[in-house]
Symmetry: C2
Subunit: 218 residues, 2 copies
DNA sequence: TACTTAGTGCCATAGAGTGGCACTAAGTTC
DNA sequence: GAACTTAGTGCCACTCTATGGCACTAAGTA
């Protein structure tokens, strides 16, 4: 059915293809189509449901000791692998999705479910932190954006070359942004820290005066 | 029509309400409905199209001198103000959207258009930077996530109190994360900076020694 | 042989969304 | 003032998605 659907979608277009056309070509009954795919759009994304379940399981099976951001990055890589497992199919689907608004919005809501899955995991990990929910949502959004950026770059190039190196670069950037953020805030609230920022050109007497005023009565 | 639709949606449910029901109650013709709203879902989000146009215009009318991240945060505030202009309507819509999957996915694709608008603006501003597109996508995703987090918190509380303070907090966190990221990379390469990190408990002689070693021959 | 159970196909139905046609009300041109 | 555009509206017919009910087959089971 998937093969038949794609053949028709790519030749005569998505809207121009009816369910009847597909089931005729695939030689199955009309109701069988809807038994496997909830809607016409779903035949274009047949493996997302399974991948989403994998991601949920992957995040659940952690020990709770892992670095949270690294964990969601690894979870995002599951989606990447699903695309990379079948490059030509992925590229065909990308071109189709790009040109059909209905498919695009369907894909967007699928992506949103991935993002919610990641965010819910992070919310659990950040439950103790102040602004934990906010940070969780932002990090999840960041990771998904990085993932999609790398994925789309690869898809635009026709599925040539290696995705994983570009994906690593993108996810690493996301990870760095949030690693720096956590160190700066987390440690800062436990114990007061004095940070002096100046240039080498500053005269020493001025540096010493700034230190004295920062330390106060000490 | 909007009032009639919401009255029916809230009493008997979204799926249980047909277009005929709405146009009967509103006393208009059936085709008039589709002349104003492309789909049944769109009657729930009547002002997003206008708001999206406002956001596009706001980002276009900039001089190009503004801090990019601050600019997209201000753009996000346009959406907030649209919700805040009519709190009771916003809360009704929130409860409706939360419970109807079809409306939820429709809202998600609307949010996606906002995110793309912000990302496209940032891509333009970061055109010269390495990884500009990637950073643009991630920042846009972050800002949207922060905005939605604050907005949903406010909507869950029933639209009570002031959104803008919570929104400021959320957007400021997003801004800080990306400001720190840029300073660390961009400014750090232009001029060497000495950063001294220590605690108040450290004895002064040790602080001075660390300063001397940091400044070296100076 | 009779009885479940999963999988399938066929049929009827509701309802979304599209397009065509006619009508009205307003302004416009001659 | 009469004929003519133009926007806005209502009505109607039609296509297609999606749902649900019913019957049939095949395979295993008592």
């Amino acid at each position: 059915m998937i093969a038949a659907a794609f053949e028709l979608f790519l030749t005569r277009g998505f809207e121009q293809t009816t369910i009847d056309d597909i089931v005729c070509l695939a030689d199955v009954g009309r109701s069988s189509f809807f038994r496997y795919f909830p809607s016409k759009e779903d035949v274009v994304f047949p493996d997302h449901e399974r991948c989403l379940a994998e991601m949920t399981a992957f995040l659940r099976e952690g020990t709770g000791e892992e670095e949270p951001v690294a964990r969601v990055c690894d979870a995002a890589r599951l989606v990447m692998r699903m695309y990379a497992a079948n490059p030509s199919f992925a590229v065909q689907r990308y071109r189709l999705t790009k040109s059909v608004p209905g498919l695009r919005s369907h894909e967007v809501s699928v992506v949103w479910r991935y993002e919610r899955t990641l965010a819910d995991y992070l919310r659990g990990r950040f439950a103790h932190q102040p602004d934990g929910d906010l940070r969780a949502d932002m990090i999840a959004a960041c990771v998904v954006a990085a993932h999609n950026n790398a994925l789309r770059t690869w898809l635009r190039s026709g599925g040539q070359g290696d995705i994983s190196t570009q994906m690593d670069r993108a996810l690493e950037l996301a990870q760095n942004v949030w690693r720096l953020g956590e160190e700066g805030e987390g440690a800062g609230q436990q114990e007061p820290v004095v940070v002096l920022v100046t240039t080498r050109k500053a005269p020493m007497w001025q540096v010493v005066r700034e230190i004295e005023s920062a330390f106060g009565e000490h």
